[in-house]
């Protein structure tokens, strides 16, 4: 019980720290940060349930007023911003990423975590994300989809990176990759 609580809390802290890392600008002018990769990593490393709980804790505390979302955002305002759908979808994304990594045990961890990161961290995440943008920005779903496409190249890079990192962690310390142990 203690280990579970501590792991969930410390991984929530890792998501926060990854959001503070300097952002890289895409050619489209949209900044990408490592924070959404932190969400994917929570799932692929901690597994579905623990990963989702870590993300949930991170979001709850950001909403409480800790400015830990990428770009120093925080407070209740995040639920009124165009990113609201993505933020609400983060725990679900981590859950699905973790579930796929765990269920596909017969596949090499790189491929299972890559699939998990793409399906969880992109497909599952974009659904609430697009709905949120459509409501807040007053656009139709298809128009919001066009806007969300800007993030796709960055997120694909992050999914690859997430799979590489999970694989490296698994090679170094298999017992620490809880989604597989």
């Amino acid at each position: 019980m203690e280990k579970k609580i501590v792991l969930v809390s410390l991984f929530a802290a890792v998501i926060a720290v990854l959001g503070l890392a300097p952002k890289v600008m895409l050619a489209s002018g949209v900044p990408i940060t490592a924070q959404s990769m932190g969400i994917m990593l929570c799932g692929t490393v901690l597994g579905a349930k623990r990963g989702a709980l870590a993300v949930l804790l991170f979001i709850a505390l950001t909403a409480l007023g800790l400015p830990l979302l990428s770009g120093g955002r925080g407070g209740l305002g995040i639920f009124a911003s165009p990113s609201v759908g993505f933020i609400v979808g983060f725990p679900l994304a981590a859950y699905v990423a973790g579930l796929i990594t765990t269920k596909l045990k017969m596949v090499k961890i790189f491929y299972s975590s890559l699939l998990g990161a793409i399906i969880g961290g992109i497909f599952v995440l974009y659904i609430p994300g697009i709905i949120g943008m459509s409501i807040i920005l007053g656009k139709s779903i298809s128009e919001a989809m066009v806007i969300a496409l800007i993030y796709l190249p960055g997120d694909l890079i992050k999914a690859f990176l997430c799979a590489t990192l999970t694989q490296t962690l698994f090679k170094l310390r298999p017992a620490d990759v809880l989604s597989r142990s």
Binding site: I5, S9, L10, A16, G65, L76, G77, S81, L137
Partner: protein, 200 residues
């Protein structure tokens, strides 16, 4: 300090958090029903004037908090320049700025501990369905205590990487960061176990 707070004390801090949160929820829901610029613009200007009255320092700080919205505003502007419906675009931008500003005013004038007390009250009925609310409170505590430590750890790893390679680190330090966090988790869990009252 981690929390998002105004740089100066204001009288808003004396208002109980519960009242501020109810007012915010009501205002936010109400704003979504405003469909004309004629109403939205005065509402927005009043909010800005209100922040201005709180002091120049707070006004500047609050404007800074809106910066992350700039990319979205740019998208809306370009979109509506293209579609030709500028009035509607302005309405969306003002609504976005207004709601986020109001939420920021509440967040920046309320102690994190006050809001977490309210959350604890809200989640307390979860005990009835066998959810351990003590575990939730402990997680919040560990997160707040350890985030600055993990930030410090990241800085040390960045420095070490830079010393060895001469390059700026990016993803290369994530694995060592996670490994060190896993080690910390072991130590903290051990010391919690020897002190705690948790039942397996």
């Amino acid at each position: 300090m981690l929390a998002l707070r105004f740089p100066k004390h204001t009288w808003l801090e004396k208002i109980p958090a519960s009242i501020k949160l109810v007012l915010l929820a009501t205002a936010t829901s109400g704003i979504f029903f405003v469909e004309t610029l004629g109403i939205m613009l005065p509402l927005f200007l009043t909010t800005i004037a209100f922040q201005f009255l709180l002091g120049w320092q707070i006004f500047k700080f609050s404007l800074g908090l809106l910066k992350p919205l700039l990319p979205f505003i740019a998208i809306i502007v370009v979109w509506h320049l293209y579609s030709g419906d500028l009035g509607y675009g302005a309405l969306i931008i003002l609504r976005l700025l207004l709601i986020v500003t109001l939420a920021n005013i509440v967040t920046c004038s309320t102690k994190t501990s006050e809001i977490s007390e309210i959350i604890e009250k809200i989640i307390s009925p979860m005990r009835l369905i066998n959810i351990d609310t003590q575990a939730i409170s402990l997680s919040i505590l560990i997160f707040i205590r350890f985030t600055p430590i993990v930030i410090e750890r990241q800085k040390i790893l960045q420095l070490a990487y830079r010393c060895r390679s001469g390059k700026r680190p990016s993803w290369q330090i994530i694995v060592p960061l996670i490994l060190s966090v896993m080690d910390d988790a072991d130590h903290v869990a051990q010391s919690l176990k020897s002190r705690s009252t948790f039942r397996e």
